[in-house]
Symmetry: C2
Subunit: 200 residues, 2 copies
C-alpha cells in the first residue's frame, strides 16, 4: 500500500489554507491518503529568522494581493481575518486529540477550522471557537476543552512540531510525497506531477 | 502594441537563472517582448530583512534540493557555483550599458552571463569575466571595462534598483505582466495563464 502524503501546515497560514482546500482531492486522484500535520510555524521561524509573511515590508503587500488572486483562481472563499496572524495552539492541540481517535474526523475538523478562519474571517484563536467548530462533527465539547489544556496534548503538539523542524519543515504548507519535500501552495501541481511520475 | 513583460532579477539568483531560461520563449508564445531588468537584490533585502536564500537554515538546504530538482525537470544545466552568492555589480552595470545600444544584445548577454554562472559554475563577479562573456557577442572589451566603473553607469543601476524596490520588487525573479506582479520561478505557469486569459 502506498504511503500517505504528509501535509504539514500552521492553522494561521493562509497559503496552508489554500493547500488544505486541494490536498485531499489531489491525493485521491492518485489513490493516496493524506496525513494532516498541524505544527507551530513560529518554532521553525526561530531557526530561519523569519516572521509572519504579512508583517514583512513589500512581501506582505504582495502576499495579500497574491492570496486573493490565487483564491479567485481556485474559486475558494478567502479573507484576511481581522484577528491575524494568531497563535493556533487551541486548533492544533484539538486536532491531535481528535486525530488519535478518528483520522477522518480530524481532517474534517482541520478543513472546517481553516474555512472558519480564512473563508469566513472568524477568530479561531480561543478554545470556545474551536469547540464550536468541532461540536457539529460529533466531538464532545467539554472533553475537547479539557484536552486543549491537557499537558499530554500540549506535549504532543510540541513533539510533532519538533519532528517537523527536524525533517526540514520551515514553511506552510510543506508536503512530503514518499519523503520528497515540497514547500508552498504554488507547488501543488509539482506534487501532482511527482505522484503521477514517481519523480524526476 | 502589447507591453513588454518586465523581468526583474539578480544575476546572483539561481531561481532568476531558471526563469531566464524560459521567459523569452514564454513571451514569444503570446506575441510579447521581454524587458530584462537586472537589479541589486541586496537593496530590497534590507527592506524585507532577508538574506541570501542558501544562507538561511533549513530553507537553504531545501532550496539547493529544489533548484537541482527543478533544473532536472526543465532539462537545464545547473550547478551551485563555488563562488556563490556574489555581488553581481559588474554584470548588472554591463547589462544596462549594452542595453542602451541594443536590447537584443543585452538580453543575449544576460542569458550568457547566467549560463556561465549557474550553468557552468564560473565566477562572474569580476569585470574581466564579464568582458569574456560580452566580447563574443560583439561588445568592445575595453569600452565595456571602462563602462563598469563609470559613475553614470553605476548611477543607472542604482536608479533601476530603486525603481524596482519602489514598485514592490523584493525577490528574484519578479515579473510584471501589464502591471500584474508575479514573484518566483514557480509562477512562470501563472504568468503564462495571465498572458493567455488577460487575468482573473
Amino acid at each position: 500500500m502506498s504511503m500517505d502524503i504528509e501535509f504539514y501546515f500552521d492553522f494561521s497560514s493562509p497559503y496552508g489554507y489554500l493547500a488544505s482546500c486541494q490536498i485531499d482531492d489531489l491525493a485521491l486522484r492518485y489513490g493516496r491518503g493524506v496525513s494532516w500535520r498541524p505544527m507551530m510555524l513560529g518554532i521553525a521561524m526561530k531557526q530561519t529568522g523569519s516572521q509572519p509573511l504579512v508583517h514583512i515590508p513589500l512581501k506582505g503587500d504582495y502576499s495579500r494581493h497574491d492570496l486573493a488572486r490565487t483564491a479567485r483562481q481556485l474559486d475558494i472563499p478567502f479573507v484576511i481575518p481581522e484577528q491575524f496572524p494568531i497563535m493556533a495552539l487551541a486548533a492544533s492541540r484539538a486536532f491531535y486529540w481528535i486525530d488519535d481517535e478518528d483520522h477522518e474526523r480530524s481532517s474534517n475538523f482541520a478543513k472546517a477550522a481553516f474555512r472558519s478562519f480564512f473563508g469566513e474571517g472568524r477568530d479561531i484563536s480561543q478554545p470556545a471557537a474551536i469547540a464550536d467548530i468541532a461540536e457539529p462533527l460529533g466531538v464532545d465539547r467539554e472533553a475537547l476543552l479539557r484536552a486543549i489544556t491537557d499537558p499530554v496534548v500540549k506535549g504532543r503538539l510540541k513533539t510533532e512540531t519538533d519532528t517537523a523542524v527536524e525533517r526540514g519543515v520551515f514553511g506552510s504548507p510543506f508536503i512530503f510525497v514518499d519523503g520528497e519535500p515540497f514547500w508552498g501552495a504554488d507547488r501543488i501541481s509539482d506534487v501532482g506531477r511527482w505522484l503521477e511520475t514517481g519523480g524526476w
